[in-house]
Symmetry: C2
Subunit: 121 residues, 2 copies
């Protein structure tokens, strides 16, 4: 049901936690299952310098959040805003159809964090 | 949103894994979110001697599965069949309403494992 890459990111998630003095915060909920994901970012020269995530979500939510943080570190904010749930699922080698709603949260939380950063400038 | 007991069982889950020579197996899916939970049991003298769970579910699913395994070890099969999602949620000090669908899986998987054991006798 799950690719090796999904299992890897689920059992050994990268960039878990919360940046205490974050430049942007995105805290979003999932309408389907009621889970939440929080992403905090540090921004330097218009690029994502650091990113951490926290979720109470399922294995698919953990894996997509972990994968997304690895993908966007070093990206400009414009590039990071282009990363959506489909791009992350692709990098994971795919996700079961009924778990795509879980993968939405990571990208949504990231975009919210970037908008939060922009608003604060 | 979550009680200390939920957070404890989520971050430090008990009885995770799979019993290789299990007497009963319950593998169930969740209609709401598409997650799955697998419970394996060892039975001796009509009592649950050992139990392990595996889930790709969310934090609430992990916490309820962990709590349930602690509750039912040593119980007779009849006692274990009385344990439902509400009993487990109570032992955890409650769960948010929108996460009750996650807590169903643990009890459902246990009951399926007990029925599986009985069928094999
Ligand atoms: S959201 Fe799937 S088990 Fe909780």
């Amino acid at each position: 049901m799950y690719t090796e890459k999904v299992i890897d990111h689920f059992t050994n998630p990268r960039n878990v936690g919360e940046i205490p003095d974050a430049d942007g915060i995105g805290d979003v909920g999932n309408a389907v299952c009621g889970d939440t994901t929080k992403i905090t970012i540090k921004v330097e020269d218009n690029r994502i310098k650091d990113i951490k995530f926290k979720t109470f979500g399922c294995g698919a939510a953990i894996a997509t959040s972990s994968m997304l943080t690895e993908m966007v570190i070093g990206m400009t904010l414009e590039e990071a805003l282009q990363v959506d749930d489909v791009a992350v699922a692709d990098m994971l080698g795919g996700l079961p159809e009924q778990k795509m709603h879980c993968s939405n949260m990571a990208a949504h939380a990231l975009h919210t964090a970037i908008e939060d950063y922009k608003k604060k400038q």
